[in-house]
Symmetry: C2
DNA sequence: CAGGTTACAAATTTTGACATCTGTTACCAG
DNA sequence: CTGGTAACAGATGTCAAAATTTGTAACCTG
């Protein structure tokens, strides 16, 4: 008895996300996912080699959505690099705040998954650092953010704003002053980046 | 049958620390602590109103030791404020790295306790912010770190260095490049702090 | 009466039998 | 031969009973 719908990987990922939202990461089973799709759990194993791989895939998809939304801001050459850097950092924070607000259960689930599969998380950091590097490189090109190593500079900025994007700080993002704090850090960093480098 | 040693609060805290080290925070019971001290567990309750209070006290003692070590650096007026700020931030990181290296079990236990009793943790942050504010104020006084609100500036610096002192980043402190990364962030922040403020 | 004891109720944790889940295999349909 | 099924063994999770721990009380003792 073949499934009515062809059951592609994407349908499995969507179903997994739904189960994750409803049951949380600890109690989300692949049997649940299969039941939602109306197939046996072995069918899911035809598409993903293990539960671990399925969870990684769903986490990656989640992170990739964030990455793509941010890429638009990073690439917006209409905005001067310094301001774009600030806007981008605010967008990183705002995106995560929005996800927490809209669906705290799912966010908590993904936070646990991202921490568990650190490879996926470090890949995502690499993606974000790439975007930040592009912004800094634009600033280096037009002279507004002088640096001879855009990648190193981007890494420093990323490290200095960890409080506003690292999941370990998620609880603090509820704090009403958090956006102001990010803005203050941005201002200080941009002041440092504008400053003429001593030879 | 009175205990051989008078059993003061400090002895209980030391015993609790030992139990914490051996059993971990989840399995450390006040019965264990009492057994270590050769008394009944009710005796412990003569000195601490609850297990919660005992755990808070032991956590506070641990954090206060760090605070006192750092206070020496913060108050060392022989070192110029800008350099002192850098040294102090390095000391915060180095102190935590040392504790992880020397006794990972105990560090993990304290990390969990500090997260649980958030009041103790926020008090500690307040202490550290006070030290940082003192350094910045010294810099404001001698003109090396121009600012009209030392406390606000200290808070910005603290936020920008969260990666190097917030317990949520403890795993990253094993990374060999971490000290260099802190140094780079310090350099950028100090560059921003030196820069003339626009009117 | 400060600081210890034993004894005890309520809350929590551990235990162990039982159920479910994971991952694999052998098999079937188009 | 891709994509499904059912049946299975071993790992993992669940749940109620039993044991332990928390916190209190009533009671000693120098």
């Amino acid at each position: 008895m073949p499934a009515r719908t062809p059951l592609d990987a994407n349908a499995i990922l969507a179903a997994t996300e739904e189960i994750l939202r409803r049951h949380g990461p600890d109690k989300a089973t692949v049997v649940d996912v299969a039941r939602t799709l109306g197939v046996s759990h072995a069918a899911v194993y035809k598409h993903f080699p293990s539960k671990q791989a399925l969870r990684e895939a769903v986490t990656r998809r989640w992170l990739d959505r964030s990455r793509d939304a941010l890429a638009v801001i990073a690439a917006d050459s209409a905005v001067p690099p310094a301001q774009r850097l600030r806007t981008w950092l605010h967008a990183v924070l705002a995106g995560k705040q929005a996800k927490i607000r809209e669906d705290p259960e799912l966010f908590a689930a993904y936070a646990i998954l991202a921490a568990a599969h650190s490879g996926v998380a470090t890949d995502h950091v690499t993606d974000l650092l790439g975007q930040l590097t592009a912004i800094v490189a634009d600033g280096a090109a037009d002279g507004s953010l002088p640096t001879d190593d855009a990648q190193a500079t981007a890494r420093v900025v990323f490290n200095a704003t960890a409080k506003f994007h690292h999941l370990g700080h998620a609880a603090e993002w509820q704090n009403p002053g958090i956006v102001t704090e990010l803005d203050e850090v941005c201002t200080l960093l941009l002041q440092g980046l504008h400053a003429p480098t001593s030879p």
